[in-house]
């Protein structure tokens, strides 16, 4: 029998799901990111040609999403490192809350600046 979703409804499982999804999405975004910056090899004007897209609200919206993914993957990853490498006991749920809070704060700071 397959695992039942009812056994997965707890914070650490959702943290895993978010960490996996954000990790895959960020990995897929990397080549595009490198491709964009690589335009600078040709000229500053070539880079500007691509960068002008970032003025579009839809691109700003997507950028904010990426920042949130990055912040979530980073804070979730720090939580994992602390669990795996520190002699930790019962404060893991506090860590989850801290990770979630920090991600949202970073995303908001970016959104406020970019729009």
């Amino acid at each position: 029998m397959k695992n039942d979703f009812r056994a997965r409804i707890h914070p650490a499982w959702w943290a895993f799901a978010l960490h996996r999804a954000s990790g895959v999405l960020l990995a897929l975004f990397l080549p595009a990111h490198f491709w964009l910056l690589g335009h600078a090899l040709q000229s500053a004007a070539a880079l500007d040609d691509v960068l002008q897209w970032t003025a579009l609200p839809v691109v700003k919206f997507a950028e904010t999403g990426l920042v949130l993914l990055l912040a979530a993957h980073m804070t979730g990853g720090i939580r994992l490192l602390m669990i795996e490498f520190l002699p930790w006991r019962e404060w893991q749920k506090t860590l989850l809350a801290l990770a979630a809070g920090a991600s949202v704060a970073i995303g908001l700071a970016f959104a406020l600046n970019v729009f």
């Binding site: 029998m1 397959k2 695992n3 039942d4 979703f5 009812r6 056994a7 997965r8 707890h10 650490a12 499982w13 895993f16 994992l80 669990i83 795996e84 490498f85 930790w88 006991r89 893991q92």
Partner: protein, 253 residues
């Protein structure tokens, strides 16, 4: 750790007080849920419900139990989607609304109805070298293990495992990576790793490291959520990850 609160037990909460609506998995890999009506009793456990069905309604129902007091670890089943020791799970706690769904443990082949084949589960304990290996003989003095030493405390935290398989059933890594040793075997390895009398430390670390071992754990903590003995295999697995990584760096494994 599960923190479901017991439901209100006040009288007069309607028809659901009189009878339970119980869906039970029947068959092997191919099968389906069958519904039974079971009278509700005071202090009724989920195992009581299964036993009632088998003794009064349908004697062909197969299930496994022995001690009925939470010691033997043979009666674990999925109750409303979560693995539990059924002999010590009160109906009141998990089915306040009178609906129960009872299925065999996940991640193990179903032999029939609620009985799973535990062979792979226990074979993995052997593969994780979950067996004590000492070097002393009857002519040696007793080993002195201080109760408050860090190692002994680590052993204490994991030693009460009854081998029920609830953690293994709840583990998503076992499902997506069938070779994974699983929380119970790794927890056992961790207690032995911390046994100062044991002489198989390096061999054991080599057995529990890598993609099929502790390093495959994603810290879902579903095992720790589901353990009826409140053990956190996640903690022990994290300890094994560190110990095996150090051993790999130093070339011991």
């Amino acid at each position: 750790m599960s923190n479901e609160k017991p439901a209100a037990t006040g009288a007069g909460s309607g028809a659901s007080r009189a009878a339970l609506n119980v869906r039970v998995w029947r068959g092997a890999g191919e099968g389906s849920f069958q519904t039974y009506e079971v009278p509700r009793q005071e202090s009724q456990t989920v195992l009581d419900v299964v036993t009632h069905i088998q003794r009064v309604i349908d004697p062909s129902l197969s299930y496994r139990f022995a001690c009925r007091v939470g010691v033997c670890g043979s009666c674990a089943m999925n109750v409303n989607g979560k693995a539990r020791w059924t002999c010590r799970t009160h109906v009141e706690k998990v089915a306040a609304d009178g609906n129960l769904e009872i299925a065999p443990l996940s991640n193990l082949p179903v032999i029939k109805d609620l009985v799973t084949d535990m062979k792979e589960f226990f074979d993995k304990w052997a593969r994780a070298r979950g067996r004590f290996a000492g070097a002393r003989t009857r002519d040696d003095d007793f080993a002195r293990v201080m109760p408050d030493s860090p190692q002994r405390r680590n052993v204490d935290a994991g030693i009460e495992c009854i081998g029920c398989g609830a953690c293994y059933s709840a583990c998503d890594v076992v499902q997506s990576n069938p070779a994974y040793l699983g929380p119970a075997a790794l927890n056992r390895a961790w207690t032995l790793h911390n046994d100062v009398r044991d002489v198989m430390r390096v061999e054991r670390l080599a057995s529990v490291a890598g993609d099929a071992g502790c390093h495959a754990c994603h810290t879902h903590t579903s095992c720790s959520e589901r353990c009826p003995k409140q053990i956190s295999p996640t903690l022990g697995i994290a300890g094994l990850k560190r110990a095996a990584a150090v051993a790999a760096l130093s070339g011991e494994i």
